[in-house]
Subunit: 249 residues, 7 copies
């Protein structure tokens, strides 16, 4: 019955639903998941890499994490080519703001501007929604460290800990249980890895299947840092999730 | 039979109905409700928060209330990303008016301008209506305190007390019974909370499920003020709707 | 059989009908009716208010009557948000004419310009007709007092007495019987109220369900005046349509 | 079978027909008819008024006849709001020509320019044809008095006598029988009235159901003149079509 | 089966056909035919008039022949209002060429430019092909007298003798039999009339059903000349196709 | 099953096919064929004329061969009006290049630019592909004599010998057998005629059914030359494909 | 069931899939495959030629390899005319970058910019995706030698060894087995040829069915070099894939 309302972006179904937006979320539900946790001294983003091949060039192929400006980064779940378009837009807007006002763009303003773009693709004819969810992590002088989640509808909100992509419901409920308000950045990273290991489809977790990024303050400036492979391995060993590899020995 | 006329925005059904507009209202009927009451010394807006999670960052995530200009605020029910677009538009128009005429934009003019935008999305092809209803509360020098309600069709009117979102019919009829013309701001807040508690789907009400905002005059200037969590708790206790929490004790 | 031709604005049915225009008229047939009567010393417009609630703010919510320029006003039946768009257009055109030619815009020219806009929405693709009928009442130096009626097709004509909205057929036939050419403004108001009382769906008429406006000359200038509630009550009492209320006693 | 080709303006049916144009003509077939006759000393246009009500304001509501320029007028059958758009266009073009070349626009050029506009609405997508036929009557220095007929397809041709609207086939065949080449303007008016009386749906004809206009030369300039009601009555009496009214006696 | 491909201009059927173009040719197959013959001293165009009525104004209503420039004329079969648009375009292009290069536009260039316009209406969406075929007759200094035929697809080619409109196949085959290379203009006219008389639907031919135009050189300049009615009658009598009329005697 | 994907240009079928492009090729498969052969001292193009009538004006109607610039010509198979548009474009581009760089446009660049235009008509909505294939023959200073073939998809490649239009498969396989790398222009012409005679639908070949063009160098400049009728006859006689005609004796 | 969502580019299916993009990949699956291998001293691209005919002009018809800038080349699988458009775009962007910044465009930036273009064709109405996959090989000063693969969705990533086109899955798994990190350019070429020979549909491989290109550094500048036919033969002989040909002996 509901079939009649799901083939065009710009119409409501009789129950007031926008099916194309829901289908776009379905596309994200199959993508590698990502988890963000707000700590008292920074923000941690962890992402699961779905395409794993020893032929993949890791130095140039970052799958899940993107730096948007010096003070903002994001983790992505969904269609990568859709994400690229939006990330470019975000980078441009952040630069324009800095150029115009000579200070970093406030985080929420950046997120909302991107979400307004997303919303347009759910309301105008001849377009499909962007099939991508984001976790935005950053710091600004008004609200300090922040973590935002946005979905294909253009909705967004601020979170202390959030998960997107495959099994995000399960991840979210583990987070709800284990998250503490005064968590440190290191604890947050351990927690994120633990949640990911419990919700991933594959059984064993290793540093090749993971990307971990941290936003923190160092010498008064914001830093975005991808966690290197060996440090990641140590964390996995420490978590008891993986055996120390031969290389690391 | 009527099915043939509900999949395109811009057509009338044989009975003269615009189904897409009605479906958009359906979308709002599932959203958290909001109640506005016009008191003799101000306007009170109360909103029910639907997404409640201890992981949600409350400081940056205001769900239901938006300040549009120094003298106008609104409560929202429906699709948040649609609301964001319209609120941005409203803020811009208010600023432009102030810039051009060096005085705050009259409230009704602001509301109508926004509703004209909404109407366009019900008449032109390739668009869907905005799935959002508003309660606008504000003060201007011509008509003093005012409360307006607008729906997805672009209709609007001035009210003494009004409700949007889930169970708005029930809320409206309680308001009709209990509203008095010379109500004070404090009584209005108590009444709004009472109405919300009676019409909400969940049984118990606490300050985390509520947002309360007030528009009033202080020292001759208009003030928009979100009610802080502890004051909200006191009001709930006073209303007998909740037990004094351990924190408050 | 005719179903195939009613889902798109811009096509004729085999019998040469434009179904979308007819459906738009259907939308108006459910709206509160309005009656206009041309008297020898003015024009009277009476409208039935459909949404009646003691919570409605009457001071800012005029439902049926709109002043377009100093010398023109209109009564409306149909979709209010559609009407707002057209009334704004009309006001702008009247102001532009005055600015360009330094005299009030002739009434028929104003009406036709608005109707041309309406016509376009019945001929171009991707649009629906405006779901609103108007009674325009005004005075200009060429033709004195005038009354025009327009419908969603963009047709219009001058009338001595006319009715739009719910039960307009019945109202029109009573008007045909009772209208006299040398009717005074006061008699016209009484006649309009009488017609409304006989054609309204509800049984009892009171001043809250009515709006009455008059266009007349005073001191050589045109005046548009909404009839205040108490005067309206007296007229209803005088007509024997309502009992003198306790307030009035 | 032919149904598949009648719901879009811009396509041919397998037999090479444009159904939407034919349906538009159908719309005209239901409209009040008009008759034009070219006499040796002028042109006569007669139109049947369909909407007759004593409440109709006759001074401002001319239903069938429109003056386009000093030397051209037209009679209309079909959708009035469509006609208004085209008549405005024609007036503007005539004025522009006069402004550019300092002489009246040649009649055929004016008619063709209007018909080219009509043609476009039968060839481009997202439009419907104009549902209106015209009889253009006028005089220019090249061809003297002329009478043109145009239909929704944009076709036009010059005629000595022509009929549009309801029962135009019957009217045309009476005209063919009774028209003489050296007819005078007065005889033409009598003939036109006679044809109308024989083809009208109602049985009795009176001056309220008729509009008669004449184009003729007076003192070397072209005149367009609507026949006043009393003169019309005399003509009807003279034709034996109506009894002398009490007023006229 | 082929039905699926015939309702939109811009698609090929599986056999590589453009149905809308073929349907447009169907529209022309019902129109009055026209015949063109290239003689050694000129070109002759003959057209059959379909609408014959003594009420038709012959002086201003040329049905089949149009002069495009001093050196080019055309005969038309199909939808007249479509033809008008193209003829206007052709006239404008010829004038622009003359203005730019100070010499008459070469005939083939003029024809091709018009056919390119026609082609566009068979390739772009939301348009229908022009339902009209042309015979272009003219003279230029490069190729002398020329005769071109074009159809709704935008195809064209040069011919010695050609027929368009109703029964053009039959006409073409008679022409093939009787055409001689060194035909004179007078013989060509006789031949064209003979062909027309044999292929027309009506049995008897007279000068009212015919239009005959000639392009020839006189005093070194190209002349386009419509054959007057009496000369036409003489030719018909001479051809034995009609009895000498009483007038001519 | 595949039917669902063949009515719109811009979609892929589940097997990754573009049906409209394939249907356009079907249209070409019915058109008169053309053959091109690259010889060591030039390029030969031969085309079969489909429309043969003694009434056709041969001097102005070249059916298959078009000169694009001094150094490029093409043979065409498919819809002539589509070809005209593309040939005009090609001529214009060649002229623009010469104007800008003061040297002839390189052949491959010219061909690719045209094919890019063709490609666009297979990817954008509301358009159909061009129903025409080309053989481009020419010479430039970089690659000497060249022969390119392009089809409706916009694909093109360089060939030593190629065939388009009806029976091009058969023609191509004969060419593959008989082509030698050091073929002379004369041998190439003989070969092309032989191939055409074997693949044509009609049994007997004569000079009226053929067009033959040659591109060669003479005195250091490129020449494009249509083979005159008598020389063509001699070649046919020499090939034993036709009897010496009476004229030639 | 899924059929309803596959005929329009811009919609998601209920499972969140974009069928048109998947169908475009199907189109590529039938095309000649290409393989790219990143060596420590360069990049090797090998492509299988599908259209093999001794009539094909090899000097001007490069089927699989395109040089984009001095430091970038690409191998192509899919619809050639689609590829041409994108390659032109890439060349232009590379030139513009060089002009603006006076240094070669970074490789990843060039690839992403092209992929953003591709993405747009999967999101906007009235378009189909580009039916082409690319292997980009190049060198820049930031990351040295790089190899990227992109598909019709606009996704791309960096690879050490990758395959596109027919049987790319099989090719990819052989590559995974045999690729070593410190492979030399020569070994890479041998490996690529071996993979191709194992995955090609035809049984025997020779130099006519292959194209091999290398990117390497010589004298400090990047070189793009097509492998000549004789060298290719030697490699094939050396690989034992083909017998030494008579020519080579």
């Amino acid at each position: 019955m509901s079939r009649r309302y799901d083939s065009r972006t710009t119409i409501f179904s009789p129950e007031g639903r926008l099916y194309q937006v829901e289908y776009a979320m379905e596309a994200i539900g199959n993508a590698g998941s990502a988890i963000g946790i707000l700590a008292k001294d920074g923000v941690v983003l962890v992402g699961e890499k779905k395409v794993i091949s020893k032929l993949l060039e890791t130095s140039t192929s970052v799958e899940k994490m993107y730096k948007i400006d010096d003070h903002v980064a994001c983790a992505v779940a969904g269609i990568m080519s859709d994400a690229n378009i939006l990330i470019n837009t975000a980078r441009l807007q952040a630069q324009r703001y800095t150029f115009a006002y000579q200070e970093p763009m406030p985080l929420e303003q950046l997120v909302q501007s991107l979400c307004d773009t997303k919303q347009g693709y759910t309301q105008y004819g001849g377009l499909r929604p962007f099939g991508v969810s984001f976790l935005f992590a950053g710091w600004d002088k008004n609200y300090g460290f922040q973590l935002y989640m946005s979905d294909p509808s253009g909705n967004f909100s601020g979170w202390k800990a959030a998960a997107i992509g495959a099994n995000n419901q399960a991840a979210q409920s583990i987070l709800k249980q284990d998250y503490k308000d005064d968590i440190t950045r290191e604890e947050a990273a351990q927690l994120a890895i633990k949640v990911l290991s419990k919700t991933m489809d594959s059984t064993s977790l290793n540093s090749e299947k993971l990307e971990l990024a941290e936003i923190f303050l160092a010498d008064g400036t914001v830093r975005f840092q991808m966690c290197p492979s060996d440090k990641l391995n140590k964390m996995l060993v420490k978590s008891g999730l993986t055996q120390p590899s031969a290389d690391a020995q």
